[in-house]
């Protein structure tokens, strides 16, 4: 899933400081799963903003709502009748949400309430880790199922750098060196020689380096199958 972190209250309050009628809009997708922007969080943020503004003596009307997904025009259209009732909308979805919203409703302003960080998952309750960098040409099978592009600070493809020490990455003491893990796994499974194979240069054009990407499924473009 896409993982995100809530922005600080200070930043969010600053964005809507001069607004008087706000909608806080959650999303039932990834941000609900990572407990940052679902119905519950939207409701809490709405109440928090009202409390903050009451305290300042500048009360504000704040409604909250959640869409099935903000990255899908089918659901974004559900806002058509009410979007103009507010002087600002605060989206709690990943960065995709406020963009779909801005594209559909050019007269409204959409503020992001979260910082979108990575593709990953929860490794324990309350802790999420990055697993994929969306390089557009997946090769994790070559690395024992562990992605060195997303999980090695330098995205090295032919083994660890000299900074790997006791399984820890030189870049951060709390980060495992994924190359240490890849090598260990290959040794444990008796496939260390796999890593000797020289891999061709990675073509980064399929990743962000090739510019914004697009995925076209011809059969679907023609209609439902």
């Amino acid at each position: 899933m896409i993982v995100a972190d809530r922005k600080s209250l200070e930043e969010i309050l600053g964005m809507v400081a001069d607004r008087e009628k706000i909608l806080i809009l959650g999303c039932k997708g990834c941000v609900t799963v990572c407990n940052v922007g679902g119905l519950k969080e939207a409701e809490i943020l709405a109440s928090t903003v009202r409390i903050a503004r009451k305290k300042e003596g500048k009360p504000v009307e704040v409604a909250h709502r959640v869409l099935e997904r903000q990255c899908d025009n089918e659901y974004v259209t559900q806002l058509a009748d009410t979007v103009a009732d507010y002087d600002a909308v605060v989206s709690m979805a990943c960065g995709v949400g406020p963009q779909f919203l801005s594209e559909m409703y050019p007269d409204q302003v959409f503020f992001p309430a979260v910082n979108t960080t990575f593709f990953g998952g929860a490794v324990q309750h309350g802790v999420w880790e990055e697993r994929c960098a969306g390089c557009g040409a997946c090769g994790i099978h070559l690395f024992g199922g562990l992605c060195p592009i997303a999980r090695c600070a330098k995205s090295l493809l032919h083994g660890p750098c000299g900074g790997s020490a006791n399984g820890i990455c030189e870049v951060h003491k709390d980060t495992a060196c994924i190359w240490d893990a890849i090598v260990k796994k290959k040794m444990d499974t008796g496939h260390l020689e796999d890593l000797v194979a020289v891999k061709p240069f990675k073509d980064w054009r399929t990743a962000r380096d090739g510019g914004p990407r697009r995925s076209i499924r011809e059969e679907l473009v023609k209609g439902n199958i």
Binding site: S8, L9, E10, K40, E43, I44, S47, T48, R50, I51, A52, K54, K55
Partner: protein, 109 residues
């Protein structure tokens, strides 16, 4: 047992403090309550195993929100007592009221 506790406390009964949500505490504050506290069962004695621990974490969450807003976090509190401790109930109510009186009225009006 005829124990008295301050009349300015409004009690909201819930089946278990695990039922208390962050938004319930927030709504009370938003509506101008000077303080809110959760009175849960003793730790380790929740009939539903961990309702009171969940409530404790929710209270801590709201305390953080209040701190971020520049409001005294002491306006929200969690207490633990058993249903047999009537005297303790009255004592907690008095403590909380004293604490809130010391802080003064809520800045959220």
């Amino acid at each position: 047992m005829r124990l008295s506790y301050p009349a300015n406390i409004k009690i909201i009964q819930v089946p278990c403090t695990g039922r208390v949500d962050i938004i319930h505490l927030m709504s009370a504050l938003e509506d101008g309550a000077d303080g809110v506290y959760v009175a849960g069962c003793l730790e380790g004695e929740c009939h539903y195993l961990e309702g009171n621990y969940k409530a404790k974490r929710k209270v801590a969450y709201v305390k953080n929100v209040l701190t971020e807003l520049g409001i005294e976090p002491e306006r929200v509190a969690m207490y633990n007592l058993s249903s047999a401790q009537g005297a303790r109930f009255a004592e907690i109510a008095n403590d909380m009221v004293k604490q809130i009186r010391d802080l003064g009225p809520t800045p959220v009006r």
